[in-house]
């Protein structure tokens, strides 16, 4: 199977990312509406407040808002795979998309670390460790995409120089 171009792996992944992007936006708006509906319908809010401590609620909100950089991250990858679909990987725009991806990944990673600290400080060990693991995964992703963005930038510069050598 082809890696770049039409009907290739890149175009297939781009479609998956577009579906994820739409689902992400729907989820972002649907979750608060759904929570509002179940809490007003059955008075669950009181029991939720009884079970959940303040720190858990804060953690929930932080994790919820990481969806925004998450969607932005998917959007950058859609643009990146679109360039791959057009058989044009080594352009400066791709380096910019990867750099933006690393920034959004960094925001998500930082958010997860904050949540992990909150949860671990409240002795919620299992969820705390899982969140810490997610934070580490996103940190590795951030560093990886940052390095890739620099490599892409260098490759784009070399390509441009090669094209302008007569």
């Amino acid at each position: 199977m082809k890696i770049t171009g039409n009907k290739s792996m890149s175009s297939f992944i781009k479609i998956i990312l577009q579906i994820l992007f739409v689902l992400g936006i729907i989820s972002l708006f649907a979750i608060p509406i759904y929570l509002y509906m179940i809490t007003t319908d059955s008075g669950i809010v009181l029991s939720l407040l009884g079970i959940c401590t303040f720190s858990v609620i804060v953690s929930f909100f932080i994790i919820y808002f990481t969806a925004i950089p998450g969607i932005a991250l998917i959007y950058q990858f859609i643009k990146l795979f679109d360039a791959l679909k057009k058989n044009n990987p080594f352009v400066i725009e791709n380096a910019i998309y990867l750099n933006r991806s690393s920034i959004t990944g960094g925001i998500i990673s930082l958010s997860y670390f904050i949540v992990a600290i909150i949860l671990l400080c409240n002795s919620i060990l299992l969820y705390g460790l899982c969140t810490l693991l997610m934070g580490i995964i996103f940190l590795v992703f951030t560093i990886g995409t940052y390095i890739l963005s620099k490599i892409f930038k260098q490759a784009a510069e070399y390509k441009e120089e090669n094209e302008l050598t007569i």
Binding site: E160, E161, L164, T165, I166
Partner: protein, 68 residues
């Protein structure tokens, strides 16, 4: 840039159009235009050799150094 390409001057002196030079040195017109308009980053010795051979000149006639 400090290096100026005077290809248009040499072409005018030899009364040769750009497309004829492109045909003779086997380079596309777009690449020669890049060179002529000082947009190029570098020039290969082989290209310079062909251009000098066709225009019957030296590299110094085509390239000029201007101090910034």
């Amino acid at each position: 840039m400090a290096i100026i390409v005077n290809l248009d001057v040499m072409l005018a002196k030899r009364k040769m159009p750009l497309n004829e030079l492109a045909d003779k040195v086997d380079i596309t017109i777009s690449n020669l235009s890049i060179l002529k308009n000082n947009k190029g980053r570098a020039i290969r010795f082989s290209t310079l050799d062909k251009i000098c051979n066709v225009l019957d000149c030296t590299p110094g006639d085509i390239l000029e150094y201007v101090k910034d």
